[in-house]
């Protein structure tokens, strides 16, 4: 297991947001975290990253505990994080956003830079522009590009499809499939079709606890599970499935 969480609890102020999170992420592929709004998916990612440290439980990365480490130390271990709002520094240029991610100036970094420029040709054209002027989709690509510039072995991505047009979402799916070649991905996603398209495994969180996990293709067939935890289908008397 590249990452495991056991009995993790997190408070934000007075709120007991995460109550019992248990999850195992094997090396490689995409693990999707699903669940309703407010179930605690984002907080789970932030807790792994050390942004909202857990009060109880254990978090181990490659067998070593990362609980209680500051976020930058966790990031240095090779864990990348793309928040829901992408975390682009809009006052900085595209190039500066990318440069912030390059910790070394060695040949490997250079080759990664070229690789990123190949995957995202439209970023290459806009290197000198302020990143605030990018479209939503371009910002998402920039955020992903940033994590590819160093040797991240685990990538946490929070709702990348949020607010993107369907055609951009399709491109996003391609990019995530490309990412799989380089790193292990943990994806929080509300867009069930996207989750189904790219994910190998799923974990469902409800009310701050992990309630279900398994293989993605099986969840795709299990309408009852979808309805119960994800609220993505209409009640049975309502006619067609939406």
């Amino acid at each position: 297991m590249i990452l495991s969480l056991a009995a993790v609890e997190t408070f934000i102020g007075q709120f007991h947001i995460l109550q019992d999170i248990n999850l195992e992420v094997p090396e490689g592929g995409v693990t999707v975290i699903l669940g309703r709004n407010g179930a605690g998916k984002t907080t789970t990612l932030r807790t792994i990253m050390g942004l909202t440290p857990p009060s109880r439980g254990s978090i181990t990365y490659r067998g070593k505990s990362i609980k209680g480490l500051p976020p930058y130390a966790i990031a240095r271990k090779g864990i990348g994080f793309i928040p829901e709002d992408q975390g682009i520094f809009t006052d900085l240029t595209v190039e500066e956003n990318l440069l912030l991610s390059t910790r070394k100036k060695d040949d490997e970094t250079k080759s990664r830079w070229h690789m990123v420029m190949d995957i995202f040709p439209d970023l290459k054209e806009k290197l000198k522009q302020k990143s605030g002027g990018l479209s939503g989709g371009q910002k998402q690509m920039l955020a992903i590009a940033r994590t590819l510039l160093n040797d991240n072995q685990l990538l946490l991505i929070d709702e990348p499809s949020k607010g993107l047009a369907p055609i951009v979402v399709a491109r996003l799916a391609d990019v995530i499939r490309e990412l799989k070649k380089h790193t292990t991905v943990v994806l929080v996603e509300q867009n069930f079709a996207l989750a189904l398209a790219v994910g190998e495994r799923y974990i469902i969180i409800d009310d701050g606890s992990t309630v279900k996990s398994g293989v993605m293709s099986e969840l795709g067939k299990n309408k009852e599970l979808q309805r119960r935890y994800l609220g993505i289908t209409a009640p049975s008397h309502g006619g067609k499935v939406v």
Binding site: N37, K162, A193, G239
Partner: protein, 251 residues
Amino acid sequence: MAEPIIRTQDLTIMFGGHTAVDHVNLDIMPNKFVSIIGPNGAGKTTFFNLLSGQFFPTSGRILFKGHDVTDIPAHLRTRLGMGRNFQISNIFPDLTVLENVRLAVQARSGIHYQILRHHRKYSRFSDQAMALLESVKLSGKAAQPSRFLAHGEKRKLEIAIILALEPEVLLLDEPTAGMAVEEVPAILELLARLKTDKRTILLVEHKIDMVMSLSDTLVVLANGRLLAQGNPRQIMENEQVQAAYLGGIAP
């Protein structure tokens, strides 16, 4: 045909290069229960924030009972009769539960600047506030500072506060967000009861199944645009809506 109580004309807001709400034209008829649904990031909450005055639009207009309220600040919209809740519970943490509601009752009564009479002299405020707390089943916690309430209780308090404002239009943004499953039915029941009263309710909700039986009208937003509106059955059968919810990707 009655006049719409809220009408938006080409309502648009842009953040940076992103158009969060895109030329939305919507009529909301009085005394209806209208739910705005849509996938995450569809612009529901932003649209809602435009109606309540949290944000001001880049272009377009908002009419309330035929009057242009596009540039009117939030607190005046409340006084005109538009009350809203917040997705993140937004209360006064160090004041007691009762004081939270009483402040809303007081705001509604128009007594704003009364600096010498003790607030206890206004016992009718307290009575009304207490009655409202009873109706959301929180009266037992009236004397506690509200910061000690559980998450679900805070949402209930939030609803009591808005009810105290006696708004003609009740704007509710995901009132069950972040609630424990066992708490949700109580809120649904409360919403169902609100529906019988003479008021317009505008609900933003992520979970379609929740609003299906409550709503007179469903409005679907996707990518900031108004995708469809109609009664629940019409919406269920709309293919565009299905596509939007599924995200337009072949599995």
